[in-house]
């Protein structure tokens, strides 16, 4: 056997899973066949009284299913009947193992996730090493998948429906203590005692009948005919429907699998799960999520787009200009990985305040037990507040995170310039000013690059790496080395106002404004955005960002127009925001204080009160001058489509204009950075799955009704005509 080694020790067969072709054991058809063969061999050997299943990989039992195999399965047309037959065979093999007549112990020497834990579930006892990293659970739902090797059937029977559903639907991975507490494993042991503990159980207990095969077995919390089960199903249906907006087929399939199978004998329950598993594969969502959020994201996390021939750049010291929110975050994540940080602001006090904020953040993490005092001390000791640019001497990277003002940015660029050597790179954290322009202030424009971090930096994994006209490949490679070192994922974009992610996101906010002006009910504007999968609706975001920001932009445009002797005509949306501020003193959720220093009451498109917020009931009447009367409200479907299409079209324009060059970056970037709906797999995957020709046709319809922003770019029309897709 190539994957699973068989040996007999003390009258017990030990099956050691060690797939030499892979860094980790994964559940594949080949491995399962060997497992079955091993079980049969042990069963046939009268000298063997029990079986121990363990792994030869350090710290890992079986890490899960073979995702590539699963993605491939979902990529082609699916013959449901055939797949049902083939996949059911997997379930039959595990069923055979748990009914083979000899006790089988899963000796879990480490991580047992997904398919790995499902195998353990089909054993009669689960013994886990008591080591922090030895996580167990069924994480499939996190990737838009579901357990497919009996997990949705055995886990509810083992720990009860309510507990099992919570674990499966959230894709929870549990550390050993939690796993024992929740009943996912029966026993925790030190690594050196693992096999002896397994042998001991076989010798002293060795019950070879699964508990759910016992006639008198009562499932914890109640079986399929219990009121608890009905109530759990009712509650789970509503909560999951509410939270996913029906956008996640796997979540529903998990519930369906449990509902359909829970009352059945285990012999028949597997097929019920397989049906739902196939249903998930038949829907494009799982494959879309798997490709973008697993495979493509991994590339962004590994720097697949880093120029290959540049030697690796070791970042030891980083300078950060501006100790505001972004500067603090960048300082924090840099210091966390051992980089020395000079955090500079216009005076030392401001810089120190910035460090103080990082310290506060760390204190909170400490309180929650997410870090240790040692680590906190280490991080803080590496952040050096400063007001003196000469402290930047020896920096490998300097990131400016100052106010979005060209003059200020030029000033700090120049001030830094003379302190840096030719190997160092300078990065601007601008969220939209063209890098090529900003680089003009530098004496080394080839070393100048954009690193667009997202807030809060500690939590947002994505960084847009913006390449200006003069930016060298070497600088790009160095920027990659920096962001990979601070454990971020990157996408590479070419210079253009707003870059990529902000451009796409901007169209979403602006679509909300269009809808408002068209007289669509604000509740519908917001609800349709949420059901489209956007984490926050447009009017709610405007309030959060602050209406003052948008107001200032419009005012500046007005001034510019006046200066140029042109007539200024604000758009209705701009007029509404101006009126909210000027006539109603409504600045959003976090208003600036009044001129006299007094606090302003929060309020914008929403009223804010203890316990929540409500759309401002006076909005329609107050803004009636700019809002059209609309007797026929559009359907939520149409509104949803407008939000999705307007963003997808902007993404295609970015691709056509060369702002992004890789659709995988395009898909990952907007999901990770600006909350584009993850279930779609990103805008390009969305269009592919919609059907390019269908998309163009429906976009044309929207364009005719709602405006040219829905016109398809030439690229898309050509693709439709030629029958091409983004991923073909």
């Amino acid at each position: 056997m190539a994957i699973i080694e068989y040996r007999v020790e003390d009258g017990i067969a030990i099956l050691t899973w060690d797939d030499k072709d892979r860094p980790m054991n994964v559940l594949s058809g080949d491995a399962l066949a060997e497992l079955s063969a091993g079980v049969e061999k042990a069963v046939a050997d009268d000298a063997v009284k029990g079986i121990i299943l363990t792994s030869g990989k350090q710290g890992v039992f079986v890490a899960g299913g073979d995702l590539q195999q699963i993605e491939a399965l979902g990529s082609g047309p699916i013959d449901a009947a055939d797949l049902l037959k083939r996949t059911s065979a997997v379930l039959d093999q595990l069923r055979r193992m748990e009914t083979c007549g000899k006790p089988v112990v899963a000796a879990l020497n480490g991580v047992a996730l997904g398919g790995g834990y499902e195998i353990a579930l089909a054993c009669h006892r689960r013994i886990l090493v008591n080591q922090r990293h030895a996580q167990v659970g069924l994480p499939e739902a996190g990737l838009g998948l579901m357990p497919g090797a009996g997990g949705t059937q055995r886990l509810p029977r083992l720990v009860g429906v309510q507990s099992a559903l919570g674990l499966i639907m959230q894709g929870k991975q549990l550390a050993p203590d939690k796993a024992l507490e929740k009943g996912l494993v029966d026993e925790l042991v030190e690594p050196q005692d693992l096999i002896s503990a397994a042998k001991k159980w076989i010798n002293e207990d060795g019950n070879a009948t699964q508990r759910w095969d016992e006639k008198r077995y009562k499932v914890p919390g109640g079986g399929a005919d219990s009121v608890t089960f009905a109530q759990t199903m009712m509650g789970s249906n509503a909560m999951t429907h509410a939270n996913t907006y029906g956008n996640m087929p796997s979540q529903r399939a998990i519930l369906q699998s449990v509902y359909d199978g829970f009352g059945l004998p285990m012999d028949r329950a597997g097929k019920v799960e397989t049906r739902q598993f196939i249903r998930v594969l038949q829907d494009p969502t799982a494959r879309a999520m798997l490709r973008t959020l697993f495979f493509s994201l991994q590339e962004c996390q590994k720097g697949a787009r880093r120029p290959k021939d540049v030697p690796r750049f070791e970042v030891k010291k980083v300078g950060i200009i501006g100790a505001g929110l972004m500067g603090q975050g960048i300082a924090h994540v840099s210091a966390k990985v051992g980089i020395d940080v000079v955090l500079l602001d216009r005076d030392l006090a401001s810089a120190e305040r910035g460090k103080e904020k990082v310290s506060k953040t760390l204190e909170r993490r400490l309180k929650k037990g997410r870090t240790t005092p040692d680590r906190v001390e280490g991080i803080l000791s590496r952040i050096h507040p400063s007001e003196d640019y000469s402290d930047f001497k020896g920096c490998d990277v300097v990131v400016e995170a100052v106010f979005e003002d060209r003059d200020i940015k030029a000033k700090v660029t120049k001030a830094t310039d003379e302190q840096l050597g030719n190997d160092a790179i300078f990065a601007s954290n601008t969220s939209g000013l063209p890098i090529t322009d900003l680089a003009k202030a530098s004496s080394r424009p080839a070393n100048f690059i954009g690193l667009h971090f997202f807030s809060p930096v500690e939590r947002m994994q994505m960084v847009e790496i913006v390449v200006g006209k003069e930016t060298s490949q070497e600088t790009l490679a160095k920027a990659w080395d920096y962001i990979l070192k601070i454990k971020k994922a990157g996408i590479v974009v070419n210079d253009s106002p707003g870059f990529y992610t902000s451009r796409v996101f901007g169209t979403f906010i602006s679509e909300g404004n269009h809808l408002l002006v068209e007289g669509v009910t604000p509740a519908l504007i917001e609800n349709a955005a949420k059901s489209a999968g956007m984490p926050m609706p447009p009017l709610g975001i405007s309030d959060q960002v602050g209406l003052g920001t948008m107001y200032k932009v419009a005012k500046q445009a007005e001034k510019d127009a006046e200066a140029a002797g042109k007539e200024w005509a604000p758009s209705p949306a701009q007029a509404i925001i101006a009126s909210l501020i000027e006539d109603h003193d409504r600045w959003g959720a976090h208003p600036p204080p009044k001129e006299d220093g007094q606090a302003r009451t929060p309020g914008g498109f929403y009223d804010y009160h203890e316990g929540g917020k409500n759309l401002w009931p006076g909005l329609g009447a107050a803004m009636s001058r700019w809002i059209e009367t609309n007797d026929a409200q559009p359907s939520a479907d149409i509104v949803r489509r407008r939000y999705q299409f307007v963003q997808c079209l902007e993404a295609v324009r970015c691709l056509e204009q060369g702002v992004i060059t890789d659709v995988r970056d395009g898909d990952v970037g907007v999901i990770m950075a600006v909350g584009f709906p993850a279930f779609t797999g990103g805008p390009f995957t969305y269009i592919d799955n919609y059907g390019v020709a269908d998309f163009v046709r429906d976009a044309d319809e929207l364009s005719a009704r709602y405006g040219e922003r829905f016109d398809s770019p030439k690229l898309l029309r050509e693709m439709a005509a030629e029958g091409r897709t983004f991923y073909s």
């Binding site: 199903m233 009712m234 369906q256 509740a523």
Partner: protein, 403 residues
């Protein structure tokens, strides 16, 4: 087609649907059915074997009111063994639907004399006891946006802009009318006392009413469905289905929704000939009935399309109806019905309704029909329309005319 006449209609008083103090809770539910079924041949002075079927509505047909209470009740009542029976479940309109089906059999000429009615012991068999897939099976629950009925009622109020004061005021008036009706003896003709197995009266008067209820009283009550709606995702599911709503205004509570009670009712219908032969006097004619399906998430908007359909099939207009009876499942349902049908409260639920009396699920429809027959006679009017909103998004309406 054969005309179908109502010869008699009787009902039990409604007992509180609570085991601890409900007057009808200490005897099995069939005893209520026995009271009304025995009353029909007695009052009409005919042999029970003249009855060709007993159709009883029941919404939780399990346990002691399970397994075909129609036949069980006929046997329990000492009906001749030739009298068959069956149970049907159209949720809240079951009692009315039983009469409608009975009438249809008469009109078709399949039977001459038949009983339709219903029963429900909510004290002994709790709501939801029969289970069902709607809320539990993901396929059904998700695709039809299942939410509990009370959330639907609050959604109706939210969409129509009915305030807490609006729905409470309606409830206060229901209590006032109910008390006045009892005071005036409006129900005397049709109430049949329920007796226990030693012949002692268990209940002879509706016991759920709270005469003299004021707006202030109701103001004390907390919304019943707010916690459930907000904490368990139901509000969000309802809003996803009705995305023009920002937030559900939870206005319904125990005081402006139908009460939980026990009760049974039976209606004797037949053709002209059987009445003449047995010496029964026809009291009213069943003109038309209709049941329709409607959007299941909001669930309670069926009475309007059902009533319009029945009216259209009868070739009638709303102005042809003298009295209206809409089951007071929730205040908002009645307010919506009056608003959409353009009818006045003064001719609607003139003797109060389920907010005061309670709503014994399977029986209510037959009870409402009976009270309308009585009231048409008392007021010397001609036509009435009885309607109920029905779970899972349905509505049933029946139009009757005095003869």
């Amino acid at each position: 087609m054969t005309d179908c006449f109502i010869y008699d209609a009787v009902r039990t008083p409604r007992g509180k649907g609570r085991k601890k103090d409900g007057a009808l809770a200490d005897a099995p539910p069939l005893r209520m059915a026995k009271a009304v079924l025995q009353a029909l041949p007695e009052r009409g002075d005919f042999d029970s074997k003249e009855i060709e079927d007993v159709i009883l509505g029941c919404v939780e047909p399990v346990g002691e009111q399970g397994a075909n209470v129609g036949r069980m009740a006929a046997m329990m009542s000492g009906y001749d063994e030739s009298v068959p029976g069956f149970q049907l479940n159209r949720f809240c309109s079951s009692g009315l639907e039983a009469v409608n089906i009975a009438a249809a059999k008469v009109k078709a000429g399949d039977v001459d004399l038949i009983v339709g009615g219903g029963m429900e012991s909510m004290s002994r068999i709790s709501m939801g006891a029969a289970g069902g897939a709607w809320s539990t099976d993901p396929e059904l629950a998700w695709d039809t946006s299942f939410v509990p009925q009370g959330i639907g009622a609050d959604l109706v109020a939210t969409k129509q802009g009915y305030s807490r004061n609006d729905v409470d005021s309606f409830a206060v008036e229901s209590q006032r009318r109910a008390a006045a009706a009892w005071e005036g003896g409006h129900f005397d003709k049709s109430i049949v006392a329920v007796k226990d197995s030693i012949g002692v009266t268990m209940l002879d008067r509706d016991e759920h009413m709270r005469a003299g209820t004021t707006l202030e009283d109701l103001g004390q009550l907390k919304p019943s469905f707010e916690m459930m709606g907000r904490n368990f995702g139901f509000d969000a599911v309802a809003i996803q289905k009705h995305p023009e709503v920002e937030q559900i205004n939870h206005v319904h509570h125990a005081g402006n929704s139908s009460g939980i009670v026990d009760g049974a009712a039976a209606v004797l219908v037949g053709n002209k000939e059987v009445g003449e032969r047995l010496g029964l006097k026809p009291r009213a004619r069943i003109i038309k009935s209709a049941t329709v399906g409607s959007e299941p998430c909001i669930m309670l908007t069926g009475p309007m399309p059902a009533s319009r359909k029945a009216l259209a099939k009868a070739g009638m207009e709303t102005s042809d109806i003298d009295l209206w009876e809409i089951n007071e499942a929730f205040s908002a349902v009645c307010l919506l019905f009056m608003e959409e049908m353009g009818i006045d409260h003064s001719v609607t639920n003139v003797n109060g309704g389920a907010i005061a009396f309670g709503h014994p699920l399977g029986a209510t429809g037959a009870m409402l029909l009976g009270t309308m027959v009585d009231e048409l006679e008392r007021r010397d009017l001609n036509t009435a329309l009885i309607t109920l909103c029905v779970g899972a998004g349905m509505g049933t309406s029946t139009i009757i005319e005095r003869v």
